[in-house]
Symmetry: C2
Subunit: 630 residues, 2 copies
């Protein structure tokens, strides 16, 4: 009756001391519950997303040292855990010490030697090198090691034999991507099962949350267990890790699949959890598939956890939000209020002459609904002073003494307002309140840089910047209907036309607002960034000629005809946004705050960008010419 | 008499149309000069640093299409060039189309098929995956292809046979990193020479400028030619490419090494250049090694080119610089003035009550020396208004109606001043002047975040952020002595104590200034970032116990004893800066402007960081305890 404990721990990236303390505590818990084996996640000691901290030899030695403590603690129990492993005699291709992403198994205070491996640990075979992943930058793969040794990965990879009590168990050990081999020429799972009998598989992971990934994993891993007719234990960490610009939650959701591929256990998401599963009982355990929830519920849980942990990490206890009476700041306010409580939240409304009574009233209403701190700081005096000062101060060309005066256009004045709000009022108010201020940009605005740098583009975190505008509205409904159970985001804010209110051309009471037509542009922009095969104007124009734009974008049918009477209109719109997406928006994203990642492609380190300006392919130019000459 | 033309072209990243036009023009030039072969750089068609643009299938197809134009133009001349190559039937490990970083050779309008290769082009073998390089993210290496085909790289890699006139030539073709194989298990150069006779080698590169790299390359490549007793043609591009946060110049410096490894030709750096070298004449050509220049001359040339091309790329013709009377902004002003001319430069001095007559006078002097545009915009009124507004506006906790008032401390007021200058005055003035404003931070400040976000940390480009403070001073001297030949940066600015002048505690006339002791901290901070084996407090404290701190850091001897009378002082200083380096400074760098890369390690994409907070290893804590208990 082998008892396997799945230790879904929080991993603190870059803090092996804290992680080792957690591991030692959970080993004791597992022993107290008479577990035979306890399994910890991939990179449980160092953390996973560490940037170039891997280039510090002292950090690597420190992780090795804590690893020895864990090995020593493996008394009366088998401990499986992920850690960095170094071979100080060998080099990586960057000339630095050889490092492996490794799977350690310890028993009786010693490491269990895997058959065929030249080291007392198992090495990750498949190295993800897309999205936020940089494994190949730091870790030497099993495939490269095999090449170096003049052998094949298959000859190095075999099930680990565990001797527990009087029994021998053959365990297929995998590290995260090793279980996602569809696009690789090698399947570690197949190699393991080809070589030997496998009693069960263990996949230790450090798998960041992505909307929809858990469903896919349950299909893929369930099928693996069923195909191999052996149980599979997936142990993932919880926590928050980041690559600077992009912040990922790790939801855990550790899962046990039985030999039929059925889910017999799912750990609660975003919670530390130690669960014992009896190997022999798995066939008879009831179905434990996660309860299906709407996407927006997942998004809410992820954002709540992400905001909460991010604030803890940077030791921030209070938050200031500039609220405009629009949907993005209102949803941000309701979210942060939910995380921090009203006493730690300060909402600031900063009207100018362009702000309507409507939005000022809605702001007040939002703050009252939440019961949080509120202040009104008008900006008109400061904005007027800035414009007056810039226009009245002489600019002297000292070479010849000629004087000129700067002219502040209405467009420049719009940006002056936005910066006055954020860099003057909010930054000062946040410091005095004892916290930071938020960036409330959504993903559509972020895509095309519909924002002001050092203005509404600034803040300590952009929690909503991986949500399209339609998802922000869904979140507003979810917060009202489910989280609060009452109208905290006023219906008026949900109903009003989205507008920056920075000029009389953006008068909400006259229905004037943003130039972004969200029901269409949300989806157009999504095709630029989230499609695995990224779309460019060539693709979009090809769909236009075929009449399949809405179908390919996934938006409501009929929008193209509604918004763009002629091909020239369609093309002008497409180029306008593509130029911004590849132009000023990149410059703004380079200086934007960290983003909480939700989707399969978030801005920042997940989607790497160069400031190279817009480009149109030859085929695009041909298509355009054909369409315009008709 | 084989004539080989080395086409050192400017590559515009992400613009295959422009690059192809350049290539076609230079092919014609080479033909006009009766060249037999013309060689273009690596990735000459698409550019090299493109971020995830490689994930757009339409962009890849476009590059293929332009590649066909180049192949068709190879009439009466052999054209060697770098381009992306796709195999639309196969996949990369990310599931996207298979892409190779490829070396094409065209003759008589067709590609020359390399022996052993399954494609009509040569594939890059070694994939740099450190610093700014992300090759493995996008390109499938020859090694991976060999593994997939069940063969060895050596069986795929052999010299290319060219039939020119009545002669056959055997050419060893290499792509950039293929010539830097020291840390790899395979040397493409050795494989090529083992298989066959090689008449000459060609290394096509896209090699970003790094201080000192050219000297190293001349040693390494010269030795390769001498060892193989065959000439080597190194063809690199010029231009500016970026990874968003980090901006690289490409200096060209294309070089011909003869069969003795001697340099017989060096192309001028940062200039388009087509040079013909006669293969048979190389033994008798005179030495053409680049003239040794001081480092600061290289830095100046690189910055001048980088600033110039960056401004062109973003179509910016005018620049605003806030000048304080300190060294960083003065050097920035002299540099930009040199690039743009005084009529396109506006210097703005923004005094508060804390700014001394000394620095105000020095600012005026600097502007007069340059003869550029100048304005003085005092900030005290606006700062006072902001503080008054924040302190007098009631903050109401709406839950219970309780009121409080925010308090603006003197520290908060310092940041209010910095933001008032940048986000209010400079951003507004730059927009009205028709340009952008600069960030003048140096690398020491950038390391520890000694700056204000949305204040002096902001701007469109941080041109000096990869220079240590002592390099900024060297640059001031170089600008005065060599570039201008007169004192443009006033001696008073060079002599004055560095100070932010944001409070009375930073009074320059009383000799008070920055908390950073540059003669020591420049070198301490450098050890955190630029050492290939990155140092941490554990290493520094180990050196301290050994008495080898200055030796290991490379700073002046005696500084440790001078600045830190006791171990406790030394440790307090070390931890103060390490905490900032790993803490707030990362948050600031995430939102910092793009940086021009000079050194072997620049902030940004070159040095990847996670916001994980400071960490001290177990060994560090032991050492500290030993030192403090003495």
């Amino acid at each position: 009756m082998l008892k396997i404990a799945m230790a879904q721990m929080e991993v603190i990236p870059g803090h092996p001391d804290q992680n080792t303390a957690t591991i030692l505590r959970m080993i004791q818990q597992a022993k107290d519950q008479h577990a035979d084996i306890v399994i910890f996640p991939e990179m449980a000691v160092p953390g996973y997303l560490l940037g170039d901290t891997w280039e510090q030899p002292s950090f690597i030695r420190d992780c090795e040292s804590y690893g020895r403590d864990i090995i020593a603690a493996a008394q009366g129990i088998v401990v499986m855990f992920g850690n960095i492993a170094a071979d100080w005699e060998k080099k990586n291709n960057d000339g630095r010490v050889r490092k492996y992403n490794a799977f350690f198994t310890a028993q009786d205070g010693e490491l269990v030697q895997p058959d065929g491996m030249p080291y007392p640990f198992i090495i990750k075979t498949l190295m993800p090198n897309y999205r936020e992943f940089d494994d190949t930058r730091h870790f030497f793969s099993l495939q490269k090691l095999a090449r170096e040794l003049g052998t094949t990965p298959a000859s190095l990879l075999s099930p680990l034999t565990l001797h527990i009590g009087s029994e021998y168990y053959s365990v297929g050990c995998l590290l995260c991507e090793d279980g996602w081999s569809d696009d690789y020429e090698l399947s570690p799972l197949d190699v393991l099962s080809d070589n030997d009998r496998v009693d069960f598989y263990v996949n230790i992971s450090a798998s960041p949350y992505t909307l929809g990934k858990n469903n896919k994993r349950n299909r893929v891993f369930g099928a693996q267990a069923a195909e191999k007719q052996a149980p599979l234990f997936y142990v993932n960490c919880i926590g928050l890790q980041n690559n600077g610009k992009t912040v990922y939650t790790f939801d855990g959701s550790s899962t046990a699949y039985n030999a039929q591929g059925r889910i017999v256990y799912t750990a609660p998401s975003y919670e530390e959890n130690l669960e014992l599963v009896e190997l022999d009982a798995m066939d008879d355990m009831p179905d434990a598939s996660p309860i299906a929830e709407p996407e927006i519920a997942h998004i809410y849980h992820m954002l709540h956890y992400g905001i909460h942990r991010f604030l803890e990490n940077i030791h921030m206890k209070k938050v200031v939000i500039g609220i405009s009476g629009g949907i993005d700041s209102a949803v941000a306010a309701a979210l942060y209020n939910d995380v921090l409580g009203p006493e730690n939240l300060l909402l600031v409304n900063m009207p100018s002459v362009f702000n309507s009574e409507t939005t000022k009233g809605l702001s007040q209403q939002l703050a009252e609904n939440l019961g949080c701190n509120y202040m009104i700081v008008p900006i008109q005096h400061s904005v007027d002073h800035t414009i007056e000062q810039l226009e009245s101060t002489p600019v002297t060309l000292l070479r010849d003494g000629k004087e000129q005066h700067l002219q502040v256009s209405s467009f420049i004045a719009e940006n002056i307002q936005a910066r006055d709000r954020s860099a003057r009022v909010l930054a000062g108010a946040a410091a005095a309140f004892g916290g930071g201020f938020t960036c409330n940009a959504n993903k559509a605005e972020t895509t095309v840089g519909y924002s002001t740098l050092y203005g509404d583009q600034s803040g300590f975190l952009a929690a909503l910047a991986d949500l399209w505008k339609h998802q922000v509205y869904e979140l507003a409904h979810y917060l009202n209907d489910v989280v609060y159970g009452r109208e905290v985001v006023p219906q008026g804010i949900i109903d009003i036309v989205p507008s920056a209110e920075l000029s009389s051309a953006q008068n909400v009471d006259e229905g004037k607002g943003d130039p972004i037509k969200y029901p269409y542009h949300d989806y157009l922009f999504r095709s630029f960034i989230e499609r695995w095969q990224k779309a460019t104007p060539e693709d979009v124009l090809t769909w236009y000629t075929e009449g399949t734009v809405e179908e390919n974008l996934g938006c409501e049918p009929g929008l193209v005809a509604k918004y763009f009477p002629t091909p020239a209109d369609f093309i002008a719109d497409l180029e306008r946004w593509w130029n911004l997406f590849c132009g000023m928006a990149i410059a703004k994203r380079i200086q934007a705050p960290p983003i909480l990642a939700v989707s399969r492609r978030a801005y920042g380190f997940d989607h790497r960008e160069a400031q190279n300006g817009p480009y149109y392919t030859r085929r695009y130019r041909e298509l355009k010419e054909q369409l315009l000459s008709k």
